[in-house]
């Protein structure tokens, strides 16, 4: 919490909204530009997890597949922390 956020709370002012606007826009535009609905994205996320989980032991809690946008180019970014590889575990 920044000093301004704290003061906003004490003085019961509304927090500055421009940051919220920017973040909401970036998220909604990433979806608009890819033409993926949240449901489709969610299904794709589950399927990616399933495929990757066949080969490596991934941390589903920490894993994330999301859309990011920069300069009007949208990318699908998957961040899947690996606990350990399946090969290693089967050798034990």
């Amino acid at each position: 919490m920044t000093l301004r956020d704290l003061l906003d709370k004490i003085l019961r002012r509304q927090p500055a909204s421009a940051t919220t606007a920017r973040e909401r826009l970036q998220l909604v535009l990433a979806h608009d530009r890819s033409d993926l609905s949240p449901e489709t994205l969610d299904q794709m996320r589950r399927e990616i997890f399933e495929v990757v989980a066949k080969y490596v032991d991934i941390d589903l809690e920490e894993g994330d597949v999301s859309l990011e946008t920069e300069d009007r180019v949208t990318a699908l970014v998957a961040n899947l922390p690996i606990r350990r590889s399946m090969a290693a575990s089967s050798n034990e």
């Binding site: 002012r13 606007a21 909401r24 826009l25 970036q26 920069e70």
Partner: protein, 289 residues
């Protein structure tokens, strides 16, 4: 994520112009309604004409036409684009010349029923006829991304996207920019309208850089929120017509000059908050942290 610096306004190059007639056909669009397309078209038209360029404004909003009203020409319309296309009148019969600014003409939108048969090729025909006679053809695009937009975009070579620093307007602008790219319209430049410096300073309005970063377009101009816009609309006299000193009039004039290739620095919203009354008001409302 954030890119540093702004892309400078695009310089006029030969390729922007029609190779035969040396004319520029510019679509003015926004996606969302009510962000200032028609006001920009009217003011830019007057400003360009005032700088000596032969300019025509074409109302492509056949459903809800208003360009005639903002220019104060609503009582002088005899024929419209509809009669020109049907070849029941000549182009020069339909063009309405502005009295105080003879370099500017309006080609009025036809009957809303035109939408039933109008095709992109029809708009290309009209724009082609206009580009033979004028240096600038400004097309006032309808809101939305449906048939009206598709017809208008077919006639455009380049575009100005106008938006306000609000989430809905920026989102819709983004959709339109995507479609302009698909249709090969280039260059596409941005005008940010209804900027409120105080709200931006308080971080309660998207910053200029936020909008240009998100939309990734070069900024052609910034227009401050200005009550005089409403006054001028009431009168049917665009602000750029009478050399008004209001902030919006200045901004529209600068946009016209930049379009013509002049290098005019962009206004800084943070420096537009002067004057004793503004200072006192600001002091009362300042959030110091």
């Amino acid at each position: 994520m954030r890119r540093t610096g702004r892309i400078d306004a695009i310089k006029v190059t030969r390729s922007n112009r029609d190779p035969v007639t040396n004319s520029r056909t510019i679509l003015i669009c926004s996606g969302k309604g009510g962000v200032g397309k028609t006001t920009l078209t009217a003011n830019l038209g007057i400003a360009l004409a005032g700088q000596g360029a032969r300019t025509v404004v074409l109302d492509a909003d056949f459903g809800l036409r208003n360009l005639d009203l903002l220019l104060g020409l609503e009582n002088r319309i005899v024929y419209t684009a509809q009669e020109v296309l049907a070849e029941t009148c000549r182009l020069d019969q339909a063009l309405v010349k502005h009295k105080q600014e003879p370099n500017l003409a309006l080609l009025p939108a036809g009957n809303p029923r035109m939408l039933e048969w109008l095709k992109p090729e029809d708009m290309q025909t009209i724009a082609g006829m206009l580009s033979e006679r004028f240096d600038y053809v400004l097309i006032d695009c309808p809101a939305g991304i449906e048939d009206g937009f598709k017809n208008a975009v077919a006639a455009a070579k380049e575009a100005i996207v106008i938006t306000t620093p609000e989430v809905s307007a920026v989102r819709d602008a983004d959709r339109v920019i995507g479609l302009l790219n698909t249709h090969g319209v280039s260059p596409v430049q941005l005008v940010l309208n209804r900027v409120r410096p105080k709200m931006m300073a308080n971080q309660d309005m998207l910053a200029v850089d936020d909008v240009t970063d998100i939309l990734a377009l070069p900024l052609l101009g910034l227009v401050l929120e200005d009550e005089q816009v409403i006054v001028s609309t009431n009168r049917g006299e665009p602000l750029t017509l009478n050399g008004s000193a209001s902030p919006a009039a200045k901004a529209y004039g600068n946009i016209a000059s930049r379009l013509q290739g002049e290098d005019i620095p962009l206004m800084d919203p943070a420096k537009e908050r002067r004057g004793i009354r503004a200072r006192v008001r600001r002091l009362m409302q300042t959030k110091i942290f």
